[in-house]
Amino acid sequence: MTKTRVLLSLKVLYLSLHLILMVFPLYWIVMTSLKPKKDIFSFPLHYWPQQFTLENYINIFKISKFHVYIGNSLLVSVLSAVIVIAISILSAYVMARFTFRGHKQIMMAFFSTQMLPGFVSLAPLYLLLAELDLINTRFSLLILYTVGLIPFSTIMLRGFFQRIPSSLEEAAMIDGCSRLGSLYRVILPVMLPGIASTFIFAFVQNWNELFAAVMFIDSESMKTLPVAMNSFIMKFDVDWGAMSAGTVLSVIPTVILFAFAQRYIVEGLTQGAEKG
């Protein structure tokens, strides 16, 4: 009895310690964002603002079009994640269900993309997109984000497909569905948690992307959130007040999404981890 007690209290202790370590940086950024500029750089450090102010938040909307950037980031991130899922479902399904000549090589091609150091491609990509007249269009980010995520999403979704017995769609096909039809109507609903977790992964990657957005977008009206955040790093100082306010705003959507969907994520991955 006491042994389980000790174990339980150890567990609680461990979890609490972990919680503090994980939450503290976020707490500190939130506090920094609510302090007036004078207090951010004053000794001694205060762990609770002496006066709360929203000036940092008001400021970032005043000096830059933060609502526009948030909108742009949302648009590109969501749209790209949707396209990624659409394309990857098809490729993952085929890679999971069929064996054919070149199957192994294609799998390797998908996997090898994960190893390519991104900066090697930067200049050639710029030239390519310049030739295609896509510089400074949302389309450029949409394509790059999508392409960047297809391989990993395919690998992930393929794992989920492998866990679903093919008898499911065969039954549907006997009922007169086409292959695609059975895929939509029968398999996808079963795989929803897995798709959700892949979607979230894709969304988060896009939402955070910085360098392509800096290089390929010129116009203010198309700028994304990470680029705007990066603008607070100036020649002489980092505007930590604005930076923390921006960080808080940029973290909110991902944290909300994560909080709502994490049951799905774990469930989806669990489903994926079951040995077929």
Partner: protein, 293 residues
């Protein structure tokens, strides 16, 4: 059967076409640059120079230092992320009330960008206004502020701490999912044989989650090795290049000097290393199933 072949072809076409045009083609063009004198400073002078860029890299103490750092960075980050992630997953495995909320609070770091995490920790590690120094001083653990980001002995430790903080969530999520899918009857059977908790872990749990461990550690190692964004945000390789890893060094070659030739050469060397690593890793772990999560 042709119908099936058409279906296969058309299903793979969008993915493969996009990858060919926007991933492989630019990458190979970039690889060509590795054999050229390609410096934006003087574009009138672009020419093929054979293996000169590679030679320069291996003769550059900076490169060798970054090579060493890359090894330290990957091994220590990965080991710590994995062990802490696994322990967290094990503790979280038995549900408790409020676990969902708890997970939301400890897993969110996974949803931030490396660059942003670099900045957040830069702010916290700041030797003057940094909260880490302030906490250590208040706790009486240190007398003098530590230059976490300016002392070469501390700087690498600092970037690794930030990186571990960042990556625990990924392993915890993946391993938790794997743990939850271990069939209960296996434990019952082991219990009948009189196995205790520790033996259960080694004889039932571990073998069952090994494929997940192999896949996650393999991929994660590649990502950690390739992603310079956290270091870029936190130290930008400083002080005196003491926190440069290969990928951040490559980035610096481009951002500060516009030297695409040298940068691509480093990139090609990195790719070669990763390929060797992957083949070796899969051989040692006898895993055929890359990417089975």
């Amino acid at each position: 059967m042709t119908k099936q072949r058409t279906f296969i072809l058309f299903s793979l076409l969008p993915a493969l076409l996009l990858l060919a045009v926007f991933t492989f083609y630019p990458f190979f063009r970039g690889v060509v640059m590795a054999f050229q004198n390609y410096v934006l400073f003087d574009l009138t002078n672009v020419r093929f120079i054979g293996f000169q860029n590679f030679e320069n890299a291996f003769n550059d103490p900076k490169f060798l230092y970054a090579l060493r750092n890359s090894a330290i960075w990957v091994v220590s980050s990965l080991t710590l992320q994995f062990l802490i992630g696994l322990s967290l997953a094990l503790v979280l495995r038995r549900g408790f009330r409020g676990r969902g909320v708890y997970q939301g609070f400890v897993f969110y770091s996974w949803a931030l960008s490396g660059f942003l995490i670099g900045l957040i920790w830069k702010w916290m590690f700041n030797s003057q206004m940094g909260v880490v120094n302030d906490l250590l001083m208040r706790a009486g653990l240190i007398e003098q502020r530590i230059g976490f980001l300016s002392d070469p002995n501390w700087a690498m430790v600092s970037v690794i701490v930030a990186n571990v903080w960042y990556g625990i969530a990924f392993f915890a999520i993946m391993l938790l999912a794997a743990l939850q899918s271990v069939p209960a009857e296996l434990y019952e059977a082991a219990g009948m044989d009189g196995a205790g908790a520790i033996r259960k872990f080694f004889s039932v749990t571990l073998p069952y989650i090994v494929p997940t461990i192999i896949a996650t550690t393999l991929l994660r190692a590649i990502w950690i090795f390739n992603d310079p964004s956290l270091i870029y945000g936190l130290t930008n390789g400083g002080p005196a290049g003491s926190t440069h890893i290969l990928s951040s060094l490559m980035m610096e070659k481009i951002l500060s000097g516009g030297d695409y030739g040298s940068a691509s050469a480093i990139g090609v060397i990195m790719l070669a290393m990763l390929m060797l690593y992957t083949v070796f890793y899969l051989f040692v772990t006898k895993s055929e199933k890359v990417g089975d999560f």
